[in-house]
């Protein structure tokens, strides 16, 4: 199988200080759904911007559909589709008009464009709203329109930068269905960034977890989850006592790790461990604030790999000028 995307030691430095992308190497075979998962500021958007020719890499190589993005940007732009993090549709135009402008910019002749646009509006269930101004669209409709604009020219490779940012869980699940259908119908290669663990789990066949511009792990979602090896019981002592010895002595404890004052006990079955841990602490005279069982999940993988809790913090933009203007300059996220 040939690779749709290859990155070799990709680096992007902003202003000589910020290493937004710090030596990333990866490859995405044709037809695969690949995800970059990481918190805000991990360098995901910069990666997409480099691969979609919007930002030049400081060093390293990026090959998209066999073409070096730095050397043949126009050819690359012809082959890729892109849905941005923030909707780029023109609010003063209708959904259909936005798609018509997008088709024109791709050089698609008008009759073909009309047919394709009808098809897309149906697929994205935007047909009833097609002739309404986009400024009246809901968040979910805007995301679908953004996706339609990205695929109007039937690209070979589709980049989705945080495709469901700002959607409620229901809207998010609905949007995933559109993407699944799109993949089934077209076999398009998907390169997706997200900071929603569930989204990565749902949509991607393979993932790279990124943090501070570096890839910290790559693999299938289930492979990555298995890395945590069984359940984790998280214990928080009330006065910050050292529990390492007490917990290690509990039968069934495979390993004990301390992250941010919380003790993480690895075990096969968390349910069986909890009473043993509580009894052990009680006997040692240690008061505990909370005991929690965590099943293998990407959250746990992230935490173990980076030593930081994964937080899907609020992502709604405050002042559009500052944030979106930042993105304009090839912003980082």
């Amino acid at each position: 199988m040939t690779d749709a995307i290859v990155c070799e030691n990709l680096v992007k430095v902003y202003g000589d200080i910020i290493r937004a992308v710090d030596g990333v190497s990866l490859n995405v075979p044709e037809g695969e759904a690949f995800g970059l998962l990481g918190p805000n500021g991990a360098g995901k958007t910069t990666m997409v911007s480099i691969l979609t020719t919007l930002v030049r890499p400081t060093s390293g190589r990026a090959i998209v559909d066999g073409l070096d993005v730095a050397k043949h940007p126009e050819e690359v732009r012809r082959r890729i589709g892109l849905a941005f993090q923030v909707s780029t549709a023109d609010g003063e135009l209708t959904g259909r008009e936005n798609l018509e402008v997008a088709a024109g910019l791709q050089g698609i002749p008008a009759p073909e464009a009309r047919r394709r646009i009808r098809e897309l509006l149906d697929q994205m269930q935007l047909a009833p709203a097609a002739d309404r101004l986009v400024k009246g669209y809901s968040g979910g409709m805007r995301r679908r329109l953004e996706l339609a604009v990205g695929v109007v020219h039937s690209p070979k490779i589709l980049f989705l930068d945080e495709p469901t940012l700002g959607l409620d869980p229901q809207g998010r699940a609905g949007f995933w269905d559109y993407i699944r259908h799109l993949r089934k119908d077209t076999g398009v290669t998907l390169f997706l960034t997200t900071h929603y663990l569930e989204e990565a789990d749902q949509l991607c066949e393979r993932l790279a977890i990124v943090d501070h511009g570096k890839i910290v792990a790559t693999g299938r979602p289930d492979e990555l989850k298995q890395r945590t090896g069984g359940d984790t019981v998280v214990v928080k002592p009330s006065k910050g006592e050292d529990l390492t010895q007490i917990l290690s002595a509990v039968p069934g404890a495979l390993a004990v790790q301390v992250i941010a004052g919380a003790y993480r006990v690895k075990c096969d079955r968390g349910e069986a461990m909890v009473p043993l841990i509580v009894t052990a602490c009680d006997r040692a005279g240690v008061e505990i604030v909370s005991v929690e069982i965590r099943k293998p999940s990407l959250d746990e993988v992230f935490l173990e790999l980076t030593g930081r809790e994964y937080r899907e913090e609020g992502t709604e933009h405050s002042g559009w000028a500052s944030e979106r203007m930042g993105q304009m300059r090839g912003g980082r996220s």
Binding site: T52, T53, L54, V55, R56, P73, E74, E75, R77, R78, L82, F84, V86, S87, T88, D90, G91, E92, L93, E97, E100, V101, A102, A103, G104, L105, Q106, G107, I108, P109, L133, V149, W320, A321, R324, M325, Q327, M328, R329, G330
Partner: protein, 267 residues
């Protein structure tokens, strides 16, 4: 190239017609200027005082046409800044469309649309001359087809030149504040170093020296010489002023293309 240009011109048009407040105000402002200032500043004097124009209002109205073409261009860059803020320019840059199209489409559209209020002022000024109680522009020359053509080209070139400049600022700058700062800085100096509004003989000599080379003056000279058949008052025939204006436009548009290309270059 043409398909892409067509798509973006259509977008400009759709945005334009969906902003009725902007359309109405852009038409109303020059009309109000003409009625309020024009009527108020109706100084005495004849062709000898006003470079061949039969009266001040005729002189002033011709100048207003150039002034309107200038002011209409001032806002084009602001749209670009807002489009950038909404990610629309980035969306365009991610397509295989030539970069030049992204710059040319607003330039062409904005320059053509500037002609509407500019010639509305001219038409209204002519009309006002026939309404009792108002003063207006009286055409005393024999304009002819060539003259009319020269007038339209002069106004169009002036609009193209300032649109190119202010669009370049729009592509180069990030914040609406800095853009309007520049507009504020340049707008009135460009106007007041031209001969568009103040009559000859008023003001210091150095100002008149500058005004001779001001692109707005050059455009307005083409209008006045043709409208008032007043070649004897000007050192050069209208075609010379038109050529000088084209030279200005060539310089400004080149500068704008350099600035625009730099701004659209992949960072």
């Amino acid at each position: 190239m043409l398909r892409e240009l067509g798509a973006l011109l259509r977008r400009e048009w759709l945005r334009y017609i969906r902003t009725p407040v902007w359309i109405i105000s852009s038409l109303l402002v020059p009309v109000l200027y003409l009625i309020l200032f024009g009527q108020g500043f109706n100084y005495p004097g004849g062709p000898a005082q006003y470079l061949g124009a039969p009266n001040y209002i005729s002189y002033f109205a011709a100048g207003m046409v150039g002034f309107v073409a200038l002011t209409m261009s001032l806002f084009s860059g602001a749209n670009v800044i807002f489009d950038k803020g909404l990610g629309i320019v980035k969306r365009q840059a991610a397509t295989p469309a030539p970069r030049s199209v992204i710059f040319l489409s607003p330039l062409i559209f904005r320059s053509l649309i500037a002609l509407v209020p500019a010639f509305l002022v001219l038409g209204l000024a002519v009309l006002l001359a026939h309404i009792p109680g108002f003063v207006g522009l009286t055409i005393t020359g024999s304009v002819g087809v060539l003259g009319a053509f020269e007038i339209v080209i002069a106004v169009l070139v002036l609009a193209l030149m300032f649109n190119a400049l202010f669009l370049a600022f729009g592509f180069a700058l990030e914040s609406p504040q800095s853009y309007f700062g520049i507009v504020n800085l340049l707008n009135l100096p460009i106007l007041f170093t031209s001969n568009a509004l103040y009559p000859p003989g008023v003001g210091p000599d150095w100002l008149h020296q500058i005004a001779e080379y001001n692109p707005v003056s050059l455009c307005v000279n083409v209008l006045r010489e043709n409208l008032f058949g007043s070649s004897s008052y000007y050192p050069y025939i209208p075609e010379v002023y038109l050529l000088a204006l084209l030279a200005w436009a060539a310089a400004f548009i080149s500068l704008a293309v350099v600035l625009g290309r730099r701004a659209l270059r992949t960072p």
